[in-house]
């Protein structure tokens, strides 16, 4: 995980004083893309989670389900990998749906701290105000010019996870650190995908 993103060693960077933001890599054990109109009904039995039908929201549990599109979701786990891919794929294929294993496709970073919103605003046009992008919200946009998937996983102030394609990981990490250096930042240790911190 760290190999693709190459985060700098932990420690405060930038201006002296308390860090404005803490950045760190997030470990993804499994990331499965579920598609198809038939998937929502099967999901609780197949994955133990509900697939959110409201756009740009996520549902939490042992498996986090992020809404990607009208009939497309990303299931994510941090610590324990998901099993029985092929059996579940076949079940979904039979029911008019699909399951793709994209566990290694994305790398993720988490930002939290008083200036996290501003660091994100340096590269992303979304409004991260908690009244607009509160806990449980997710959205697809860009960071700098790289496609990115954002999720507010809660906490106070809220922690925001940024997921980008693995090949862009190092550039996005650099972009986040550059933006964060204005406020001073800490690099936190790698930690598994957190699910929802507060619900």
């Amino acid at each position: 995980m760290a190999d693709a993103t190459n985060p700098r060693p932990a420690g405060a960077v930038g201006i002296p004083g308390a860090p404005g933001v803490t950045l760190g890599p997030v470990g993804i054990a499994s990331a499965w893309n579920v598609q198809g109109a038939g998937a929502a009904a099967l999901a609780p039995a197949l994955f133990g989670t509900r697939l959110p039908t409201e756009a740009n929201t996520l549902s939490s549990g042992p498996v986090t389900a992020l809404w990607l599109g009208p009939a497309s979701w990303l299931l994510v786990t941090g610590a324990a990998p998901l099993h029985s891919f092929e059996a579940r794929r076949d079940t979904l294929n039979d029911a008019g749906g699909a399951l793709f294993d994209v566990s290694a496709s994305r790398v993720a970073f988490v930002l939290h701290g008083p200036r996290a919103q501003e660091v994100l605003a340096a590269g992303c046009p979304l409004d991260f105000d908690p009244r607009v992008f509160g806990p449980g919200c997710c959205a697809q946009s860009v960071y700098d010019r790289v496609n990115a998937l954002y999720a507010n996983v809660g906490g106070a102030p809220a922690a925001i996870v940024v997921m980008v394609a693995r090949s862009f990981g190092r550039d996005v990490w650099h972009g986040l650190c550059t933006a964060a250096s204005e406020f001073g930042y800490d690099v936190g240790p790698a930690r598994p995908w957190p699910g929802m911190l507060v619900r």
């Binding site: 693709a4 198809g36 566990s103 290694a104 862009f168 972009g175």
Partner: protein
């Protein structure tokens, strides 16, 4: 180390008291090599004036001496070269440069010096250099060479500043922001609007280009708001807004562009001199409502010699006294057509500037407003019904000639300062950029906002409103209205700030005073040296549209975009055409409002971050093993792995040879990979590819060719059937995104009835191709399955496990070959790519395995005659041209097929893929060569084809190439010439089939 400060030289024009400057912070700066002192809070312009420096530049065309005219962003003249070396910035307005200690600036467009400028000869012959002179004059001799000669000298003479040639060490950034109400301008109207909107619960951003809020009210000690002095009210409101959790105050921030969907671009200048410092930040503000409180720009009146240094706009002269405690002169003549200049005269008078005369074009009976009354009461000499006909002086104004409009009586008045006011133009730039319309207001004699085209309203002077009390009331109302439009209403709305209303008399439109004799020109546009005579000439020559007038005379061009000049120029045009100004209209307002540096536009996306870079999961291994990288789209790929003493080409040749003798491994992770699932995938594939896929068995893979709608080859790749309803499609690296987009489009739009789902898995899989006669032996050592040909035949796909020191890695194994050798592809989850890669290399070490890069990969595929999309499939070739006509299945429809039978696509003289071998093997086939029958034939020499790919073949010991050749398949065995007029090279080549190595494919099936 601090250098002991020399005693501050006198600032002879600095007033002893007042001004919004910090006298406890003296600052030293250098202008044109001379040291001067100023104070924190000064601009470069105010500090220069405090030191009596008026002459700051030479004009663009005539090299006339020019001084400071304005006190803000509208300044047309005082453009300077700020800073030196890598941080230098040309054409910066001295009126907006905040003074800092150690500032270095220089005047522009002069040689050898500002006072003695050789270019000023142009002024002496200015009558010979009217608008458009070079269109007329430099047309002989009628050759491009002639123009190139003149252009060099014209550009040199009409230069502005000099751009930096070294890389800027400063940093730049971008920031996105969202708000309910964006208030542009923090003058009285803007502050009132921001306060009202914030009190209603709106998220507010307020930006102002100055370092502190207040606008024209700053330093105006005489005014009061809500019963307190204006400076105290400004300070209190500024503090209140800065502390408000819902309000973001942005100082030193110019709103430069208004775009669709209420997106407003701001540029924030960040103070500080450290070289690594953040210099500027561009804000992309998406506002639900916008209040434009951008104020107004004073306009001049044109008269002969109105450009002499010592000529200021009256409001600017007042601002220098009140805001900066600077006297812009000793003895002033004020020339006006409205009341505001009378107020300015009173301020100058109170500061000890002798008012020689207030020359007012209006008759005495029109001087009924508050300020003319005050001027009379102060016994300032008022010459009503009079005009300034001409100013005299060489490097500074020494006096003016004043004439009575009724009697024609003239008198000369000595002065060193002329303060001009022709009225005020609302700063409608952003309103107009937002595509709002304008209305000509006869009372104000200028354009004011009419209908808004986005969620925006103008308030205060920007809306043509007159006076402090009205501006406060209008701003307050605009703030409440903006919030109310978003259903945000205060429980108890705050009261509007109040100020005393001063009566004003009517303004009398006055644009230009006709010259009495052939004296100095009278300027409309100072920055572009456009005179009233130029406007008249343009009209005589038929340029009667405002847009033509602008382009012919350059009126309103340049860095100031005519902020002081445009309305005067338009009104003169209207007069000359005898039409109302409203019918003339304005030129189009486009962003930016003021110049924006390229650094700010780029933000941090510069140098290695100019565009995002994609790195394979194996990138660090490549880098650690000496890879020389090349870009492929956004990807960085290893070109080759040169060893000490090897050139990259040597290395590629070694690597390519080794693949054919031992084995090599290449990173092919960048290939596009798309997975498809569903009951109807085969149907979709049959429609997308020229060949059949409905009969592809599970565990098999097949080469596929994809056409565009017009029948031309679009992309190629492989299709593998992983499970009955699960397929893997590969695409070329460059077309990965395009093919994915097309498949999604087809599934969602064209054929939604198909049960097919797609996702890109390019990033999921790290892929390595293991090629060469020893590849199977190497593979057998590390995978858990039988890889003999019977178990894994050519074009099979299977699952396996790769044993690595880090543990077992699950993999997909494909038996495909691009090199033409026995080859396998291993696809493993990207995070486990390095473990797989190193395990393969370790397993093959004793068998001579080497990593190879894209250059060797290219050599191997050229030797084998495999096409590349982009080189051979160049957007003009059909499957048949590439020798793959038989792939097109006759029994089914596919995209592009209906148009394959077009006449042009079946013509007998189409260019077809062939192989070329250099007749003398050691002579390189020139890059991009054309194929001709006779290289000595005089031009035009018929071109029979061209080389698409070429390389030295280390396996054939010859230069070889692939080419597209007219009727190429019929020319096998013939010889032609590959010529490159650019490289002045020619080589005899033998034409043959495109496959040079193992044409029957025995190796890859072995």
């Amino acid at each position: 180390m601090t250098v002991p400060r020399k005693p501050a030289p006198a600032q002879p024009f600095r007033l002893p008291h007042g001004g919004a400057i910090d006298r406890s912070q003296p600052l030293r700066f250098r202008f044109d090599g001379c040291d001067h002192d100023g104070f924190a809070g000064d601009t470069l312009a105010s500090a220069l004036l405090a030191n009596g420096v008026h002459l700051v530049g030479r004009s663009f065309k005539y090299h006339r001496p020019r001084g400071i005219v304005a006190a803000g962003a509208e300044e047309p003249n005082a453009l300077v070269q700020l800073d030196t070396g890598a941080r230098t910035e040309p054409n910066v307005r001295a009126t907006t440069i905040e003074l800092y200690d150690g500032l270095v600036a220089a005047s522009q467009n002069r040689w050898p010096s500002l006072r003695l400028d050789a270019g000023a000869l142009a002024s002496a012959v200015s009558r010979l250099l009217p608008a458009g002179f070079y269109y007329k004059t430099f047309m002989w001799p009628a050759s491009p060479r002639g123009w190139r000669f003149y252009e060099h000298w014209i550009r040199r003479a009409a230069g502005l500043g000099v751009g930096a040639s070294a890389s800027d060490p400063g940093r730049y950034a971008h920031r996105h922001a969202h708000c309910d109400v964006l208030v542009v301008g923090a003058g009285p109207a803007g502050l009132a609007a921001a306060r009202a909107a914030a009190a209603s619960g709106a998220r507010v951003i307020v930006c102002d280009e100055e370092r502190e809020p207040g606008g024209r009210l700053r330093g105006v000690a005489g005014a009061s708001v809500d019963g307190t002095s204006a400076p105290a009210w400004l300070a209190a409101v500024g503090r209140e807004l800065a502390a408000h959790p819902q309000v973001t105050m942005l100082a030193r921030t110019t709103a430069f562009g208004y775009y669709d969907h209420n997106l407003v671009g701001l540029v924030e200048r960040c103070p500080g001199a450290a070289s690594e410092h953040l210099r500027e930040r561009v804000w992309h503000v998406r506002a639900r409502r916008v209040v434009l409180a951008t104020g107004a720009h004073e306009r001049p009146i044109a008269y002969a010699g109105n450009d002499l240094p010592g000529t200021l706009l009256a409001g600017a002269a007042r601002a220098y006294v009140e805001r900066f405690a600077v006297r812009p002169g000793r003895r002033a003549v004020v020339f006006t057509n409205n009341d505001t200049a009378h107020a300015a005269a009173l301020v100058l008078h109170a500061a000890g500037v002798e008012i020689a005369a207030i020359v007012d074009v209006r008759p005495d009976t029109a001087l009924v407003g508050h300020w003319p009354g005050q001027a009379r009461a102060a016994r300032l000499p008022i010459l009503a019904g009079s005009v300034v006909e001409q100013a005299r002086g060489r490097l500074h104004v020494r006096g003016v000639d004043v004439a009575s409009r009724d009697s024609g009586a003239r008198c000369a008045i000595t002065c060193d300062l002329v303060c001009v006011s022709g009225g005020w133009n609302p700063a409608v730039h952003l309103h107009s950029q937002a595509r709002g319309t304008l209305r000509y207001d006869d009372a104000l004699a200028t354009f004011v906002p009419a209908a808004a085209a986005q969620a925006v309203a103008s308030a205060g002077a920007a809306n043509g409103c007159d006076g402090l009390a009205a501006a406060l009331a209008e701003g307050h109302a605009a703030g409440l209205a903006a919030a109310a439009a978003l259903d945000l209403v205060a429980v108890t709305p705050p009261p509007a700030p109040a100020a005393t209303v001063a009566t004003t008399g009517p303004l009398e439109a006055c644009w230009s005073i006709p010259a009495r004799s052939r004296g100095a020109p009278s300027f409309v546009d100072w920055q572009n040296d456009v005179t009233t005579a130029d406007v008249a000439l343009a009209v005589r020559e038929g340029y009667t549209s405002v847009e033509h007038l602008k382009r012919y005379t350059t009126l309103g061009m340049g860095t100031d975009q005519g902020k002081t000049a445009n309305v005067v120029g338009l009104a003169l045009l209207a007069q000359l055409l005898n039409r109302p100004v409203q019918s003339i209209g304005t030129t189009t307002f486009r962003p930016p409002y003021t110049p924006v540096t390229l650094g700010a536009v780029a933000g941090h996306e510069a140098g290695p971050f100019l565009e995002p870079t994609r790195r394979s999961a194996l990138h660090d291994w490549h880098a650690a093993h000496g890879a020389r990288f090349v870009t492929a789209g956004l990807w960085l790929r290893p070109h080759s792995y040169p060893r000490p003493g090897e050139t990259p080409d040597d290395a590629a040749n070694r690597e390519a040879r080794n693949v054919r003798t031992n084995a090599g491994i290449v990173d092919v992770s960048t290939l596009g990979k798309i997975e498809l699932q569903g009951r109807d995938v085969a149907t979709l594939l049959d429609r997308v590819y020229v060949n059949r896929f409905d009969n592809l068995a599970v565990g098999r893979c097949r080469y596929g060719l994809m056409l565009r709608d017009d029948g031309i080859v679009q992309d190629d790749g492989t299709v593998s059937r992983i499970a009955p309803t699960h397929y893997l499609v590969t695409t070329t690296t460059v077309n990965a995104v395009r093919v994915m987009q097309q498949l999604e489009y087809l599934i969602q739009v064209e054929w939604p009835e198909l049960d097919v789902y797609a996702t890109s898995v390019t990033e999921q899989w790290c892929a390595a191709a293991l090629s060469g006669p020893k590849s199977r032996a190497i593979l057998a050592r590390i995978v858990d399955i039988d890889v003999a040909s019977a178990a894994v035949p050519f074009l099979a796909i299977t699952r396996c496990t790769v044993n690595t020191p880090a543990g077992a890695v699950p993999a997909r194994l494909l038996r495909v070959s691009y090199s033409g050798e026995l080859a396998f592809e291993l696809h493993v989850p990207a995070d486990q790519g390095p473990a797989m890669w190193e395990a393969v290399l370790a397993a093959g070490e004793d068998l001579g395995i080497m990593a190879y890069g894209t250059e060797a990969m290219s050599t191997l595929r050229i030797e084998k005659g495999h096409i590349v999309v982009g080189a051979e499939a160049d957007g003009r070739t059909t499957a048949d041209d590439l020798g793959m006509g038989k792939l097109v299945n006759a029994g089914k429809w596919c995209i592009g097929k209906p148009l394959l039978s077009r006449e042009a696509l079946v013509a007998p003289d189409r260019w077809q893929l062939v192989g070329l071998t250099a007749d003398e093997p050691a002579v390189p086939i020139p890059r991009g060569a054309k194929l001709v029958a006779d290289p000595d034939r005089a031009a035009p020499n018929p071109m029979l084809g061209h080389v698409t790919s070429w390389c030295w073949s280390p396996n054939l010991d010859a230069w070889i190439a692939l080419a597209l050749l007219d009727n190429g398949r019929a020319r096998h065995g013939t010889t032609l010439w590959a010529v490159s007029p650019l490289a002045d090279a020619r080589v005899r080549v033998r034409v043959g089939p495109p496959a040079f190595v193992d044409p029957d494919g025995e190796r890859l099936r072995g």
